[in-house]
């Protein structure tokens, strides 16, 4: 496909494919807009499908989560003290090295 709007570089200005104000530019423009719209619609479809899947499996996942996971709690004094102890141990180790 010959898309060159110029036949020589002598005195050339706008030299992009098809040339300014051409049918080729109009087609490219419409194609670009269509792809942009296609991109958004693909995204919306993907989201809708993903959200529907999640809604289906969500109750089962919630039940599983409730069985296997312990709820998060703030560090208790024993957890905090063991953490502090581990810090001290690593500090001692560093000093020895």
């Amino acid at each position: 496909m010959n898309t060159s709007p110029i036949t020589s570089w002598e005195g050339a200005e706008a030299y992009f494919t098809f040339g300014p104000g051409s049918l080729g530019i109009a087609v490219s423009f419409l194609a670009a807009i269509s792809l942009f719209v296609l991109f958004i619609s693909t995204m919306v479809r993907h989201e809708n499908r993903s959200f529907a899947e999640v809604s289906e499996i969500f109750p089962a996942m919630e039940r599983e989560a409730a069985q296997e996971w312990k709820p998060e709690t703030a560090p208790t004094s024993s957890v905090a003290s063991s953490y502090a102890k581990s810090l001290l141990v690593s500090e001692e180790k560093t000093q020895i090295l």
Partner: protein
């Protein structure tokens, strides 16, 4: 002699092109920074979705800005009625200037710099809405903000013939109003319809802390944004070969002026936020950004010590405004409304307070009244479309992800990849293995 003149002119044009080329590259660092910032602020279940949102920002804003944004800038400096002069027509996508053209060294490179400004506005929105907005809603809002709303403000207030300048002597050299405040108030409008993240507020409305999953990543992100800002601010000056460089309003300036005040603003903002929060890392890092934005409007005019003071104030007020908004049920995950929106307005007003009387070439002198009037218009121009379009999306159930998706996280729901497939295990030191193997031998 004529050949020599042509040669000199060509050197000037190509140098100018090279200058803006690298400004564009540095501005992409702003997006790298926003990505790291938002990923760090997100909880583990949403990190990839947040990162994808930053990529999508570039993907949608650049082509949409090509299609309409550059034309809006060149056609609407007078208000809502478009011009039909040569400059406006040359900005249409099918014109001779909007593609490779041997005779035009300016259109592409200026369009590129403005496209990155546009993407920056959308990135500002991006952070504030993380973890609960639909990606499709975000990309539509990003395209609207980046390719229509901010650039309309740019045509009005960041243009040598914009009506902000010709009627009110508006001065906003570093785009604190037309980029940052516009984006911040647009984000505010969206947040009011989007609502807070699940678990953000206790039953009685008391805000709870949703801690960033990786605060160091957020702080690194802000450092990248600081680097990118030098591309952004560099893109705010007009390069003229062989002459003094000028501001977007045609008044003389130079990069020395910008360097003094951008750096003093950065340090002042960090200090201001440190004083306000007693060293809370998230806000101290954001304070640097608030500082640069605080001095952006009068970047070419302030004495550096005054810029420092203005930036300290900007950095100081940002956390308080953020906290106030949080108490008002505005869940802005990254403080964008405060740092970009309100501090952007502070920047406009600070120029009116501290730089009144400076002459303009195409309008009245800079004044506090002129700056204040334009600040109100900027707030309205950002807020109204953000609120209005997101309200329509909300009514059409297009704005927010479903409850189940939010509980389970966006990564698991819609991203076909895993951020941390091996978790983040602590790794042992080599010595641990050595001692273990030697104890095995003894045993």
């Amino acid at each position: 002699m004529e050949e020599l003149n042509q040669s000199v002119e060509m050197i000037g044009l190509t140098s100018m092109e090279a200058y803006y080329w690298w400004c564009i590259a540095f501005m992409i660092l702003i997006h790298a920074g926003f990505m790291s910032y938002e990923v760090g602020v997100s909880r583990v279940k949403n990190v990839l979705a947040s990162a994808m949102k930053n990529l999508m920002t570039l993907a949608v804003v650049i082509p949409s800005f090509y299609i309409v944004g550059w034309w809006i800038y060149n056609a609407f400096p007078d208000g809502f009625i478009p011009r039909t002069d040569e400059l406006a027509m040359a900005a249409l996508p099918w014109s001779a200037n909007m593609g490779p053209n041997i005779a035009d060294h300016e259109s592409g490179i200026f369009w590129g710099a403005f496209a990155l400004f546009a993407a920056t506005t959308a990135s500002i929105l991006s952070g504030s809405v993380i973890e609960r907005i639909r990606m499709s809603a975000f990309v539509i809002l990003a395209a609207l903000l980046g390719s229509v709303v901010w650039i309309l403000a740019g045509a009005w207030g960041w243009h040598g013939e914009g009506w902000f300048l010709t009627q009110f002597g508006y001065h906003d050299v570093g785009a604190a109003g037309v980029v940052h405040a516009i984006a911040g108030f647009f984000a505010l409008g969206v947040l009011m319809n989007l609502g807070p993240r699940l678990g953000k507020y206790a039953a009685k409305g008391k805000p709870l802390k949703l801690s960033p999953h990786n605060l160091p990543a957020s702080m690194l992100g802000l450092m990248l944004i600081f680097v990118g800002f030098f591309g952004f601010l560099g893109g705010c000056i007009i390069v003229i070969s062989g002459e003094n460089w000028i501001t977007i309003y045609g008044t003389p300036t130079n990069l020395s002026a910008f360097a003094f005040n951008a750096l003093m603003g950065l340090s002042g903002g960090i200090i201001g936020s440190y004083i306000a929060t007693k060293g809370e890392p998230f806000w101290v890092a954001s304070g640097g950004l608030a500082g640069v934005i605080s001095v952006a409007s009068g970047l070419d005019l302030f004495h550096p010590m005054l810029a420092f003071v203005i930036a300290v104030i900007g950095g100081f007020i940002a956390p308080y405004i953020g906290s106030f908004l949080e108490r008002k049920n505005i869940d802005d995950a990254v403080g964008a409304v405060s740092v970009h929106g309100f501090v952007g307005i502070w920047s406009i007003l600070a120029t009116g307070i501290f730089a009144s009387g400076y002459p303009n070439l195409n309008g009245p002198d800079i004044s506090l009244a002129g700056q204040a009037i334009c600040a109100v218009v900027v707030m309205a121009l950002g807020f109204i479309p953000g609120y209005g379009v997101s309200y329509m999306m909300k009514k059409m159930n297009m704005l927010r992800i479903p409850y189940e998706a939010e509980r389970m996280g966006l990564d698991l729901t819609e991203v076909p990849a895993v951020a941390y497939p091996e978790g983040i295990p602590s790794t042992p030191e080599k010595e641990d293995f050595v001692s273990k193997s030697s104890s095995d031998k003894i045993g």
